[in-house]
Point group: C2
Chain length 189, copies 2
């Protein structure tokens, strides 16, 4: 473990990595201090409290996820965009389970988290551009997409699909087919 200069940014990144390795709930101020070769009390020069650390990891994750999704969406429309978004989302969650779990922390309004969350919501809305849904159907559709992606990834992560032989990847692409159809034939009113 190379002993780096302690900064809030480095602490946040280290916490995110630790979360992916040992689980978000096992990231503690003490463990982080140990990783930096420093006493835990010392970290309070950089952090207000544990909650701030957790929120920082959540914002980091939200930002990274939005970046990936934005990349994936670039130049795509319609089902292409839907699948790219969904895959980027799911791949991120798989690659960074701890960071993904961090997204569940209470992001009380007013924090920089709100901005990151808005960006995320805007990106989800961008998927719909190819489907030409008017409001309020668009909002309902976004909620459906977000719920399904989040739910699928969460259940998969917690092993909810392991009891059945059907491959989770296959189900996933089937689910995306169905969502695409749903968006193309969204009921009026």
């Amino acid at each position: 473990m190379v002993r780096e200069k302690v900064t809030v940014e480095r602490l946040t990144r280290a916490a995110a990595e630790m979360a992916d390795e040992v689980g978000f709930d096992n990231v503690t101020v003490s463990a982080l201090a140990r990783a930096f070769g420093v006493k835990d009390a010392s970290l309070y020069s950089h952090l207000g409290n544990v909650h701030e650390l957790r929120v920082r990891v959540a914002v980091l994750a939200l930002t990274e996820l939005a970046d990936r999704v934005a990349d994936a969406l670039a130049g795509r429309a319609g089902k292409d965009a839907l699948v790219a978004f969904a895959d980027a989302y799911r791949d991120y969650a798989k690659a960074h389970p701890g960071r993904y779990t961090a997204l569940r922390v209470d992001l009380t309004p007013g924090t920089p988290a709100t901005a990151a969350a808005r960006r995320h919501s805007d990106l989800t809305r961008a998927i719909l551009r190819g489907y030409h849904l008017p409001e309020p159907a668009a909002t309902d559709a976004i909620r459906l997409l977000h719920s399904t992606f989040h739910g699928y990834v969460t259940l998969e992560q917690s092993g909810g699909f392991g009891h059945h032989p059907r491959d989770a990847d296959t189900s996933w692409s089937r689910v995306l087919d169905v969502l695409d159809t749903a968006l193309r034939h969204w009921p009026p009113d």
Copy 2:
């Protein structure tokens, strides 16, 4: 607080109530012991460790939820069954946020949790009876439904829908309409 005889069942129920009131993560052995007017060390005559307590609450919640859903499904088929299931699910999560959160604990196989989880999965499958989906489409459909319900409820619970004026109930019934359509026109193969 009436001081009741301490039993595992009473501890579990009290923990579930406490979870709904102060959040699942704030249910501790110490707090539970205080509620029973007893020292925390005393609870270890009844419980092996905190994890056991959490799993017990999760199993309690899973069982209660399965009961509600089973009630809701009785005598219904098709979209009726779908909506009844979904509403029972969402209503339970709203009424018992702490218990619902408990369902996210790792239910390692082998525990009585497995049985409760299977019952839950069987009930979800019962919804599909009216839609006549063959395997493996049925499994994919169950995964879609479960993901969407779970995701929607989780996001709603964590305030994810609060930023937009569109009513969460309205979106919910729209989502159910769309899922019903999807199940009726599930793509072949």
